[in-house]
């Protein structure tokens, strides 16, 4: 029963990773860049939620929506002013810019909101459902997190599979030149991808801080790196890959902490990543269809 409870904790943590990883993987799929500032957009989202809910006593739903709007604008602005001018630049330049942007956001947050820990309000409460005569408890926040992850995943699949914009995104991720020849505006599509990824980051920020309520300007960086790992694990560029990768990473991390050692849990996570990449370099669900000539 303890094992089951650990697995559920892992799935809940993994759901947060998965939501963040979706942002990484979508941006990578289309812009072919690693947006290392993504984790810090989560932090900004969490702060907006914090101020909206704890300081201005707004309804939590409104707080989350507000955070989504702010993060969407932030993500699109970052893309427009930091990454777009580098569209033709070597990928190393873009990578360094992304890391720079990450530090910029963290320092900006320190300046605006001080480095002191803010305790995120407990919106969902400490309630839990008890199963098997109380032997297995699942907190409401864990349930909400997993539910949110599944809903987001389904909506994104529908969006990329059926909508015109979603299909255009897939076309851009395969071949930008050919997409332009179809009349698809590649710049708008990339901007749209950042918007969606950043809105998801806001949700992730809320969920993350509801589960781990200590909010600081560096709150987003470690989950950001883990989610990036999850995206690579599942096959970067693949949306189902980010989902599977995120969940697996969360479960492995919690199980490693429970049965091996808390200190080593991160090391185990990254070791599994190395093994997966050795066996399948494209990640678990990464696909590669060879081109016919």
């Amino acid at each position: 029963m303890l094992f089951l409870s650990n697995v559920i904790n892992g799935l809940s943590l993994g759901s947060i990773y998965a939501i963040i990883a979706l942002g990484y993987t979508m941006v990578y799929g289309i812009a072919k860049m690693l947006n290392f500032a993504h984790g810090d957009v989560i932090m900004v989202g969490a702060y907006i939620c914090f101020f909206a809910i704890a300081r201005f006593n707004l309804n939590p739903i409104i707080g989350i929506l507000l955070a989504m709007v702010v993060c969407t604008v932030l993500g699109m602005t970052i893309e427009r002013f930091a990454y777009k001018p580098l569209r033709q630049a070597p990928s190393l330049a873009v990578l360094i810019t992304a890391i720079g942007m990450s530090y910029f956001l963290q320092n900006m947050a320190q300046l605006l909101w001080t480095p002191n820990i803010k305790v995120f309000p407990s919106v969902v409460g400490n309630g839990a459902i008890k199963l098997f005569d109380g032997q297995l408890t699942i907190s409401y926040i864990a349930l909400i997190t997993m539910g949110a992850c599944v809903v987001i995943m389904l909506m994104l699949s529908l969006f990329t599979g059926n909508s015109k914009m979603g299909k255009a995104m897939r076309a851009c991720s395969e071949d930008k030149g050919a997409a332009q020849l179809m009349g698809i505006n590649v710049n708008t599509t990339i901007s749209m991808t950042f918007a969606i990824g950043s809105a998801l980051a806001a949700i992730a920020g809320f969920l993350l801080c509801s589960a781990y309520p200590n909010l600081t300007p560096t709150t987003g960086s470690m989950p950001g790196i883990k989610a990036f790992t999850a995206a690579v694990f599942g096959g970067i560029g693949s949306i189902p890959g980010a989902f599977v990768g995120g969940l697996l990473l969360g479960v492995i991390e919690i199980l490693a902490a429970a049965y091996i050692s808390t200190e080593l849990s991160d090391a185990v996570v990254f070791m599994v990543l190395v093994v997966v990449l050795l066996v399948k370099p494209t990640g678990l669900l990464g696909k590669k269809i060879s081109e016919k000539v």
Partner: protein
Amino acid sequence: MAMLEVNDINVYYGSIHAIKGVSFEVNEGEIISLIGANGAGKTTTLHTISGLLKSTTGSVSFMGQNLAHVPAHKIVSLGLAQVPEGRRVFLHMDVEENLEMGAYTQPNSTIKDSMELVYERFPRLKERRHQVAGTLSGGEQQMLAMGRAMMSKPKLLMLDEPSMGLAPLLVEEIFDIITTLNKAGTTILLVEQNAQMALSIADRGYVLETGQVVLADDAKNLLHNDSVRKAYLGG
């Protein structure tokens, strides 16, 4: 006035001067062939017309409109479509989705009818409409690339080496379809290394060499031109 007028364009890749003052024109209803060896600048020329590359001088105008400041994604809706070299179909998308992408600039209500037209022209695509493009054969991918371009209802269709890597029988099939499309009212600009085939269906032709037009004539004359025969038709 010609449908497409390319006037003294110069294109650079960094410091490499790829296109050196190329000019030519395509009249409505014609099939024009642009022939030349590897590296002559044929694809670069097409990409410049489509707006993927920019010329430093001169102009490209389509039906009287200067394309200099029209972004690549707006050019399709003017009625100018390209079937790119190497087909470049979306390999992870199925046949139907590829066709939908071709109709990206078209109103949703017309997509079904355009698709039926494409399927009529390429029955094989209809059989495979739910198959992922990456699993199609080279010839089928070429058909898909052509069908995809047709979805935007182009007035002028540019094809970049449609015969590349295809078996002779398939090449003939593809060229038959090009002639049929032309008869149905689409103007064609055809870029080819297979000069024999390209000139045999064309009205006029241009020979490109190292970024310059070195010959321009009726296709019939080019087929019998000594230097063309030596360089491109095997003597």
